[in-house]
């Protein structure tokens, strides 16, 4: 483990959060104890981490670090959990009353609690069903009903007087469209960002951090509502080492179907 290895593998950061195994930790500490540069870096990392933690503790809601999963309606989950918790409390209360109460006044209260518990239960199942339906909708809607258009790379794409050769006809009922682009062969970019510009030069839509498919093409899903009839240029910029450069331009003429 030399200085180059330490830097390349972010050993200081791993040590700062206690993620080195015992052998690596011992080896690194033997180096650290006599290395002002690593000591400075560790102090800076600790400082950054502590400040980040302080910022996080001041947030109203904690950052969600669960595994990324698309389309889960969080509001339904929270509601289901809250309803389950309330139903559990009421059910426990009902059972407790049944063991200790004898007179009619308490029995009336018991009946009322039973009624409330079954009401909560019906609400829980209704919410659960609604959540299941919403999840299916989110999974299905953007892909199944979105038309796909293939755009060709245009060497000198512009919004001038020439009519673009590619036409994109969008039905009013469609919510999303998919634009499929072929990327230049010599591209060596880690990711891409896309910007859609209309005839007036206004950016109507953009996205970034798009990773190409294994086939070497790019597929962009965008809401149909951003496109009206007219000429558009889609500009793709590739990112390499933190810098963006133009990878390609694609012009098309959008028309709307009734």
């Amino acid at each position: 483990m030399d200085d180059v290895y330490i830097q390349e593998h972010e050993i200081v950061s791993q040590y700062a959060v206690g993620k080195l195994d015992s052998a690596d930790r011992v080896e690194f500490e033997d180096h650290l104890v006599d290395c002002p540069k690593c000591l400075d870096e560790l102090e800076l990392t600790d400082d950054f981490r502590y400040t980040l933690r302080s910022l996080e503790s001041q947030r109203e809601r904690p950052i969600d670090t669960r595994p990324a999963s698309a389309g889960r309606p969080a509001v339904f989950q929270r509601r289901v959990v809250a309803i389950l918790a309330a139903a559990s409390v009421i059910v426990i209360g009902v059972v407790s009353f049944a063991f200790i109460c004898e007179n009619r006044g308490i029995e009336r209260q018991l009946d009322q609690a039973r009624t409330e518990a079954s009401t909560w239960e019906r609400r829980y199942y209704a919410e659960h069903q609604a959540r299941t339906n919403a999840e299916s909708q989110v999974r299905e809607t953007p892909v199944v009903s979105a038309p796909l258009f293939t755009l060709n790379l245009t060497r000198s794409a512009s919004l001038g007087t020439e009519t673009p050769s590619t036409a994109v006809s969008i039905s009013r009922q469609v919510k999303f469209i998919i634009l499929s682009l072929e990327l230049p062969n010599d591209a060596d970019f880690q990711s891409y960002r896309a910007t859609l510009t209309d005839a007036a030069g206004t950016n109507v839509w953009s996205t970034d951090d798009v990773v190409p498919a294994t086939s070497g093409g790019l597929a962009l899903i965008l809401p149909a509502s951003v496109i009206r009839a007219g000429k558009y240029v889609l500009t793709i910029e590739g990112r390499h080492g933190g810098q963006y450069s133009i990878a390609g331009s694609y012009s098309f003429l959008a028309t709307q179907l009734n």
């Binding site: 959060v17 650290l32 000591l39 560790l42 400082d47 950054f48 910022l55 951090d209």
Partner: protein, 196 residues
């Protein structure tokens, strides 16, 4: 862990001077290794007061052993000192666990929150961290920092869940730290110039 020839020679020379009874060499050893041993003991002990006690014991024992000739490979002085420090920390916690429950660990930062100047510095550091987070090219990079530094997730776990390469992961940590260093250094210079 490779070290350059000058460093090894200077460690061996330091040991040789201590063995020959040179008091200045002992002070030099403490001065050279104090910061690093403190860092190691703070992580092992979790509390500043315990770490400071163990620090004193570490250097006392180190010098006794060197004078006695127990350090047979002087070029391994760093590892020798670290082993003593770690062993003392382990022994301390064994004794402490037999006597009474361990106290809760203090937060990582050694800064006191009671000092108004420290609170001001903390607020300025928070602004710097917010800026660093805001300058990251994507929300996924911010996610990397939160998961690694706050959520205690492993690098491999984060890379798998976010679809990152190991290189990208390291780059995110490196850039965030370097940018924080740059902005914090600028803050300190501005404060220093303001004082003058």
């Amino acid at each position: 862990m490779s070290r350059n020839a000058n460093e090894l020679e200077s460690a061996a020379t330091l040991v040789s001077r201590i063995v020959s009874g040179e008091a200045a060499a002992e002070a030099e050893l403490v001065d050279r290794y104090k910061r690093g041993v403190t860092v190691i003991l703070m992580r092992a002990a979790g509390q500043r007061s315990t770490a400071e006690d163990l620090l004193q014991d570490t250097f006392r024992l180190t010098l006794e052993k060197i004078r006695r000739g127990d350090l047979r490979e002087p070029e391994r002085l760093s590892g020798f000192i670290c082993n003593i420090a770690r062993n003392l920390a382990t022994a301390h916690f064994r004794r402490a666990s037999r006597q009474e429950p361990l106290e809760a660990q203090t937060p990582l930062s050694a800064d006191s929150d009671d000092d108004p100047l420290q609170r001001l510095l903390a607020a300025e550091k928070a602004a710097i961290v917010r800026r660093v987070l805001g300058e990251l090219p994507s929300s996924r990079d911010r996610d990397v920092l939160y998961r690694f530094y706050l959520a205690d997730q492993d690098k491999e776990q984060i890379c798998l869940q976010l679809g990152l390469s190991s290189l990208h992961f390291n780059r995110v940590l490196f850039r965030a730290r370097e940018r924080y260093k740059e902005l914090y250094g600028k803050l300190l210079r501005e404060q220093h110039d303001g004082v003058r």
